[in-house]
Symmetry: C2
Subunit: 271 residues, 2 copies
């Protein structure tokens, strides 16, 4: 199988994301190899060796996606026997012209602790954890958004993703049996934060499947119970005009992007 190498003097996340997006346009399987923190010529020569070995083993020239700030190190990788994609480079000169200033490449400017919003993102992760699953009802005034929904409808991973990637403080609150009663009413603790609420829902069949993995053959997991709970929350969302999304067909990356688009929240990534 042909290899795809992702190489950088940083985390190599940019190379991975770019290479993965490009390769996803093809229905071909690859052996993916990420090599981060290639910061010396010596290390670069070791990587060259790996690329050569992969070529010899597979008989197919590896694809090599790389971004490296240091010129000497970059020049070593550029000599690989693979098909080399220094994919940012060709955009730099035209962009210098547009912006009217020279580029100033520096190591570790992306995905590092030196990003301006790094601390904001870590604070948001700690906030999401401390305010997960209705575990803390005191700090909702700090929340940027409060995800609501029944148990296992995707609130927790979505909250964490919003925090980790975008520095958005997302609490989440599960509607419980207690809230349900005969008819689900807005829990009093949420009433004054109504403008921050965002509802999740999910197909009953999918919820039944997810809950069954947790507690097979329980009332909690029964299709009937799932149907009832989802009907109640969707009625509440409509009645109270809470924006909501059905998570059944969406990844957490897609949920986060849709929630941000719907609410107009700001990404605190590149502020």
């Amino acid at each position: 199988m042909r290899s795809a190498f992702y190489i950088s003097d940083g985390t190599a996340i940019t190379a991975e994301v770019f290479g993965h997006a490009l390769l996803s346009l093809f229905t071909v399987e690859f052996n993916h190899v990420t090599v981060p923190f290639v910061e010396t010529e010596e290390h670069a020569h070791e990587v060259l060796q790996k690329i050569s070995e992969s070529f010899q083993d597979s008989g197919e020239r590896p694809l090599v996606f790389y971004t490296i700030v240091n010129t000497e190190v970059r020049n070593v990788i550029a000599k690989s026997v693979g098909i080399n994609y220094n994919f940012l480079d060709q955009f730099v000169a035209p962009l210098e012209k547009v912006l009217g200033v020279p580029s100033k490449p520096e190591k570790h400017r992306t995905h590092s602790i030196h990003e301006k919003t790094y601390d904001i993102r870590i604070d948001a992760v700690n906030y999401a954890l401390a305010n997960d699953d209705g575990s803390n009802l005191k700090d909702y005034n700090e929340a940027d958004i409060i995800l609501v929904g029944v148990s296992r409808s995707g609130k927790t991973p979505t909250s964490l993703y919003l925090a980790l990637q975008y520095g958005i403080k997302a609490a989440n609150y599960p509607f419980t049996e207690e809230d349900m009663g005969d008819i689900l009413k807005m829990p009093p603790v949420l009433r004054r934060f109504k403008h921050k609420l965002f509802g999740l829902t999910i197909k009953p069949e999918r919820l039944h499947q997810i809950r069954s993995e947790r507690r097979a053959n329980s009332r909690y997991a029964s299709l009937q119970q799932c149907r009832m709970e989802l009907r109640e929350v969707e009625n509440l969302y409509r009645k109270e005009k809470i924006p909501f999304l059905n998570s059944t067909q969406f990844s957490i990356e897609e949920m986060a992007a849709k929630i941000i688009a719907t609410t107009g929240l700001q990404r605190r990534k590149w502020a």
Copy 2:
């Protein structure tokens, strides 16, 4: 201020990562605008309007980074008054030649629920949450890695990042006062999982600062206590030959990349 638009018929994460990496080479400030899920020509025309308005307001042509699978929608964005970067496109034809097969662009192939490893990543997030902070000692046989370290040395966010991005099941265990005693010994519960342990440490001054934000003027946060705890864990790491990293200067993205590089764990992202 000049705007940078990130536009896609999916999450726009690829456009964001690429654009951000390119712009990070310049010491220029931008107004960042992400527009995901542009799936119709009508929506694309609305986006064109936004790009025009941004040009009029700032007097500077916006930069427009986009990846769009649908030809009609893409052709609308390509007419924007901005400086347009259809940054994947120019790599496609040469890559078709290399691979000897035509590309088959389909929507939502990246960052969607249809990625082969999506469920693995969500399972790993649930595992990380259930095994956070030593809260569960029964499931360590399932762990790919167990992060150990003193309270607030970066275990939790690093575990979550490993899970969310790479589908790696990372538990984490905090060394506590109880484990410390006169001299920190390997907690019995960890002994049989020694090959899975990975230690975190941090500068005492930084730990003191982080803990002080939590509990100011406590013994827990005192520089003396931080120094003592870190000396003990570092001694244990050396004595037991547990690989370890100092998190003081690293982002969680960097920590994750370094941990994977050190341990040889596999990224379950594109399997």
